[in-house]
């Protein structure tokens, strides 16, 4: 089934096209985050001006015409309201014009499912790590129709911690990924390490690192922050895997692009003879491909939504979304 998916929950406007689980196109345009962070109205404006161009780019990449599309998916949430509305409106317009079925998709489910299925895993413990999210999840045993949250952050997402720190010590560019680059060759200095069972917290680490930055080499603080936070995630993931009886780990979301995090999780998996998987980086950053991917699975199972019920939900909980594993 040729399905077009639209993602617009935050600073990325993405359009993906899939057919039978194969991603034919995955195009995007991004809002440039300035020193003030994201201003919702401005981001939405940017999405509106990029909308047509990104859709056209995806169609020509896939080598198809718009009227060949057989189904539509869009991100229902969670995300910024005004941004979500842009994708929702575009998706509903296309669906109405083409008279094709439409499916609202949970953003986090998009990340997890594309990583899980593309890496060939059946029942992994999934570590979903992005700016706003840091959670450990697993398909519920009974139905395999929902993800259950096994563990999560008590406060901020790990990506958010890196971003905030990058801005506070004026890294250039001031993104989380620069922290990882700056960390190369650094030395470890002790940092607060907070894991409670399968849950964890990052604010203590952020505050401490920001304070240390005044008196220590940037390199060492970045290195220690990265090592400490990733070790926390690994410990909680390891415990979740053993307690839930799984023998697979997958990682997804923006922070899953980190080579170091993958290397550490691979070591966790190896210690227990478990399998480890992740998706290509284009699917870890926000993208429309994963939305199309999940929407196709929904639509081929008859989970289409009536146009008038195609809402957005800023706080759409990942464990309330039905999945078709």
């Amino acid at each position: 089934m040729l399905v077009l998916g639209i993602e617009s929950s935050a600073h990325t406007f993405g359009v993906g096209i899939v057919d039978g689980g194969r991603v034919l196109a995955n195009e995007k345009a991004m809002y440039k985050i300035g020193t003030k962070g994201m201003i919702p109205r401005e981001v939405a404006q940017t999405h509106i001006s990029n909308c047509n161009a990104v859709i056209s780019a995806a169609l020509s990449k896939a080598g198809i015409k718009i009227n060949e599309i057989e189904g539509i998916g869009y991100t229902k949430g969670p995300g910024i309201g005004t941004c979500l509305q842009v994708g929702q409106l575009a998706a509903k317009t296309i669906a109405a014009r083409l008279c094709v079925p439409i499916a609202p998709v949970n953003h986090g489910i998009g990340h997890i499912e594309i990583a899980r299925i593309m890496s060939g895993l059946k029942d992994p413990v999934a570590l979903y790590v992005s700016g706003g999210n840091s959670q450990i999840l697993k398909l519920s045993k009974a139905s395999r129709r929902r993800y259950t949250v096994l563990g999560e952050t008590f406060d901020i997402g790990v990506g958010n911690m890196f971003d905030t720190f990058a801005r506070s010590i004026k890294l250039d560019p001031a993104w989380g990924s620069t922290v990882e680059k700056t960390a190369e060759g650094g030395k470890y200095v002790p940092m607060p390490y907070t894991v409670k069972g399968m849950d964890f917290s990052f604010t203590g680490l952020l505050t401490h690192a920001s304070r240390l930055a005044a008196s220590h080499r940037k390199q060492d603080v970045c290195f220690s922050m990265r090592e400490t936070s990733f070790s926390m995630l690994c410990e909680a993931t390891e415990r979740a895997m053993l307690l839930s009886g799984s023998s697979e780990i997958c990682v997804c979301g923006g922070v899953a692009q980190s080579a170091r995090l993958r290397e550490m999780l691979k070591a966790v998996a190896d210690e227990h003879g478990a399998r480890f998987g992740f998706a290509a980086n284009e699917f870890n950053a926000d993208n429309g491909g994963m939305i199309a991917f999940v929407a196709e699975r929904m639509l081929t199972r008859g989970a289409e939504e009536k146009l008038r019920d195609c809402t957005i939900e800023q706080r759409y909980r990942i464990d309330s979304a039905e999945v078709f594993a």
Binding site: A142, T148, L150, S231, C234, E238, E263, M264, A267
Partner: protein
């Protein structure tokens, strides 16, 4: 060393013998994913903390295995002959005893952090022994105590939990406040969905 009798997320249990007593060693081994300095620090801090809390619990009359020694990353303790509560058919009497056990622990100012039938041993003497203080904290707050109750409630089922909580309430002065907190926690979404089912 010999083969471990149990392998957990952060430690392995080995059989051993100390002063002619059957003993076990709980060993926190290295984790390849961590940088060495952090690895060493986590393992030694947790080993010391667990031993300290075990000793504290013992001094307040909580039945735990006798401590026989502590080294950098290992705790040596008496081996309890018997069965894990999770492998036994729990009787009403045993549920009540578990209630008293948790009450004594909470009165000592300790929150267990992983209070499940997998961490209670039923000795050959019929008595209950509490083990695994790896996630324990010194705390007098209602939240941690309520979470201990939540975990055991989930695992025991209604009938046994009713007996459990009767004895627990008799033993803990602030039981009403803790049980009220438990009800609040159960209403919060994320805990409702957190069973592994």
């Amino acid at each position: 060393m010999t083969k471990p009798i149990s392998e957990g997320a952060e430690s392995r249990i080995y059989p051993t013998e100390i002063f002619g007593i059957d003993a076990i060693a709980k060993v926190r081994g290295p984790k390849a994913y961590r940088v060495p300095l952090l690895d060493v620090s986590i393992r030694s801090t947790r080993t010391k903390k667990e031993a300290k809390i075990m000793a504290l619990a013992l001094s307040h009359g909580v039945r735990v295995p006798r401590l026989l020694g502590v080294s950098d990353y290992s705790i040596y303790m008496e081996k309890i002959h018997g069965n894990l509560m999770k492998d036994a058919k729990i009787s009403g009497k045993q549920a009540e005893m578990a209630g008293t056990l948790l009450a004594t622990l909470h009165n000592a100012g300790i929150v267990h952090g992983d209070f499940t039938p997998a961490n209670i041993l039923i000795g050959e003497d019929g008595k209950l022994y509490l083990i695994d203080f790896g996630l324990s904290e010194i705390s007098h707050g209602a939240e941690g105590r309520a979470l201990d109750l939540l975990l055991i409630k989930r695992q025991m089922g209604v009938r046994l939990y009713t007996k459990f909580v009767k004895n627990y309430s008799q033993g803990v002065p602030s039981a009403r406040e803790i049980i009220k907190r438990l009800a609040e926690i159960e209403k919060r979404g994320r805990y409702q969905t957190r069973t592994l089912g």
